[in-house]
């Protein structure tokens, strides 16, 4: 018996070893460690464990058409402010699959997106703690040139509890067809025209477990998209309809949901223009009708706002998409003033302008009895907005390289945010703020660069937490070191005791694809946002270490 087992072991290892040796392995790892201290002034409490750790390692294997991969995750316990959906250590993601010119099949966990993602997007954003990966099967077909059919079937990840994935009660099924007409009609390309079209169908099943209402167990959503381009002009749009989907988000109403996103743009050397419009009504679509927060979303509603990068503009008053309804517009212009002109200077000057706004959609209730048995509580039309402002952002940024050594960038933002809707703080009504940023870079030589930022934020009528200032200095030595120090101050807070300073220092070392960053100091409570989804991070004081590596 022992001999037999040994033989099996040798046999297995030979096969596995040979397989691995012939294919390729790639992956990455990330570790975030925090050692936290108590800090009464900012209400930061030291956790019982004192130190916190999030850690991930991904390993992907490919050979010929075969693919397989795993991700091990550990939250021991999770870092401060990370969603409580994650704890323990274990296998968080695994798949096997096969891919050739015709098919691409994946069994196990997978991520996928249909069109703009409005109808279906299964994705991960590790920094935010979003991971609604599917567990099931995905089959993609490419039967003809320019035609892609995607199908998905499975349950979505809800949480990672005690090191084990917990999946949604509902099952998600979907199919998507995309056709690139240029590959069928070559004449289009000869005339500088490009046409791509597509359609999606997604359905979820969840048992009716409600005693009060008769809930639809199967909810479908469907829609189409089209992209047209002529020379340097483009326009694309997607329209999605969702069938009756009473849920906790919409207050168990039986209205259909609908959503539309349209983008149009023009670009040439030195100029880029994008105009976007979005109308969303009752489009919260989850694989559990009782879910909330960022849990188990099937569709993804992108916010039409610019992703700001400077700390005060990005973290204090950000916008998050409103799945129950919003009408939003955005205009974005990038322009380069030619070099050698009076305004452009020696190297040219980059100007970017951005305007975005969002309103409550108009919900007409006349002639509708919200108490009748239909539970259709209002009527609405696409792009029909009320006067209630959710958000407005007007911002401009001008960047100019003065000479070989100096580059200067100045930015101004005027942001109005309806706090009754977005509820970021306890303040009521609209919080309007003016934000100014000055960013100066000085190249000492080829490898050494110093950069400094000065940021100020002032709220109109000194509302909410009043005025803030941030100063940052960063020293980089290419290609492997960086040092930075930040001082943030809520110097204009109407409450005197809350006029708190937040100093932080960071040191980083890079070895090619490996990066180690160590930070120490006090961090304000605030929102950490990516892609219109935000997570609240409490104030903290202590040490943080981030290590990333790719292989």
């Amino acid at each position: 018996m022992k001999t037999l087992q040994l033989l099996i072991a040798v046999f297995c290892s030979t096969i596995v070893g040979n397989l691995i040796a012939q294919g390729s392995i790639s992956g990455n790892m990330e570790t975030n460690y925090q050692y936290l201290l108590s800090d009464e002034k900012i209400n930061a409490i030291q956790p019982d464990e004192k130190s916190l750790l999030n850690s991930y390692i991904n390993v992907n294997y490919r050979m010929a058409g075969f693919k397989a991969g795993v991700r091990l995750e550990a939250y021991l316990p999770r870092t401060l402010g990370y969603p409580d959906r994650f704890d323990g250590a274990g296998l968080g993601y695994r798949y096997v699959g096969y891919e050739n010119d015709l098919i691409d099949v994946t069994v196990g966990n997978f991520y996928e997106q249909f069109g703009s993602g409005l109808i279906f997007r299964s994705y991960e954003d590790r920094a935010l703690g979003v991971d609604n990966m599917m567990n099931g099967i995905s089959l993609n077909l490419r039967p003809y040139k320019g035609v892609t059919i995607k199908t998905v079937y499975g349950r979505q990840r809800f949480s990672f509890t005690n090191g084990k994935n917990q999946y949604s009660p509902g099952i998600v099924r979907g199919a998507d067809l995309e056709v690139n007409f240029n590959q069928w009609f070559p004449g289009l390309s000869d005339n500088n025209i490009r046409i791509t079209g597509g359609g999606s169908l997604v359905s979820k099943y969840q048992e009716d477990n409600n005693s009060q209402f008769i809930l639809p167990e199967n909810t479908g959503a469907y829609g189409g998209r089209l992209e047209l381009a002529y020379k340097k002009f483009f326009i694309n749009g997607e329209y999605i309809i969702k069938e009756q989907d009473p849920s906790q988000d919409n207050g168990y109403i039986y209205n259909y949901g609908k959503g539309m996103i349209v983008n149009a743009g023009y670009s040439q050397k030195g100029l880029g223009i994008v105009l976007s419009a979005k109308s969303i009504d009752n489009m919260s679509f989850r694989s559990d009708r009782n879910a909330a927060l960022q849990d188990l979303t099937i569709g993804f509603i992108p916010p039409l706002t610019k992703t700001h990068t400077y700390n005060l503009a990005a973290t204090l008053y950000p916008y998050a998409s409103q799945p129950n309804g919003e009408v939003a517009f955005q205009a974005d212009v990038i322009y380069k003033i030619k070099r050698g002109t009076a305004l452009g200077g020696k190297y040219g000057t980059d100007v970017s302008l951005n305007f975005s706004t969002a309103y409550e959609p108009l919900k007409r209730t006349s002639g509708i009895d919200p108490m009748d048995s239909s539970r259709v509580t209002y009527e609405s039309t696409l792009f029909d907005k009320s006067d209630l402002l959710y958000w407005q952002d007007i911002n401009v940024s001008i960047k100019r390289k003065l000479n070989r050594k100096w580059t200067v960038e100045g930015s101004y933002y005027n942001i109005s945010m309806n706090n009754d809707v977005l509820k970021l703080t306890s303040e009521q009504g609209i919080i309007q703020s003016h934000i100014g940023v000055l960013d100066v870079e000085y190249k000492i030589n080829r490898k050494h660069t110093v950069r400094a930022e000065l940021q100020g934020l002032w709220t109109v009528d000194n509302k909410d937490r009043g005025a803030w200032a941030t100063a940052l200095i960063e020293y980089t030595i290419s290609p492997d070191w960086f040092f930075s120090a930040i001082l943030q101050s809520n110097y204009g807070n109407p409450v005197k005791e809350d006029r708190i300073n937040y100093p932080m220092i960071f040191v980083g070392k890079i070895w090619g694809a490996t990066r180690l960053q160590v930070g120490y100091g006090r961090q304000k409570e605030g929102l950490f946002c990516v892609g219109g989804i935000c997570r609240f991070v409490p104030a903290s004081n202590g040490l943080s270490v981030t290590f990333t590596h790719s292989f």
């Binding site: 022992k2 087992q5 072991a9 297995c12 290892s13 070893g17 040979n18 691995i20 040796a21 012939q22 294919g23 390729s24 790639s26 990455n28 990330e30 991904n58 992907n60 490919r62 691409d104 991520y111 703009s116 993602g117 409005l118 997007r121 490419r142 320019g146 690139n180 240029n182 590959q183 490009r194 992209e227 340097k232 983008n263 743009g265 023009y266 670009s267 040439q268 050397k269 030195g270 880029g272 223009i273 994008v274 992108p302 039409l304 992703t307 974005d332 990038i334 322009y335 190249k443 660069t449 290419s478 290609p479 960086f482 890079i510 090619g512 694809a513 990066r515 990333t548 790719s550 292989f551």
Partner: protein
Amino acid sequence: MNKLSLILTTTFMTLFLITNAQEGVFEKGIPDMQLKDTEGKTIQTGELENDGKPMIISFWATWCTPCKKELNAIHDMYIDWQDETGVRLVAVSVDDQRTASRVVPYVDSKAWEYEILLDPNGDFKRAMGVNNVPHTFLVDGNGKIVYSHNNYAPGDEYELYDEILKLKE
């Protein structure tokens, strides 16, 4: 022989065979998958090549300031780099739907001559083992990744170019 020793034996045997393999497993190539370019055409990533000359694959996003700095810095020298080494740069945008429509206008306005690929759901990013953007890979004439760098500080483009020159030797 209990289960544990069986597992251990298997693992060691496997590792032994891997280390003795002719081709190093960690000699990484480009994983093959389908991405779209900015004109909606499907591109097979495994078929990305540059006629035996070096190729740069750079992950970036329109919201990532260091990424744009890096690609603009390379853009200033790209003609010289191409003349001297024949290098080609493929810039993979990881912008999702929120910012995807800004990619083409941004690229055009900067007059980048790079090939732009779109990775809106991060599939290629995951397959290439990228944690954060910017992340730049250098691929040799045989499709093997010979250098990669995660981060951008002014001056990193010279280091990258030194690596390209090494491939020419």
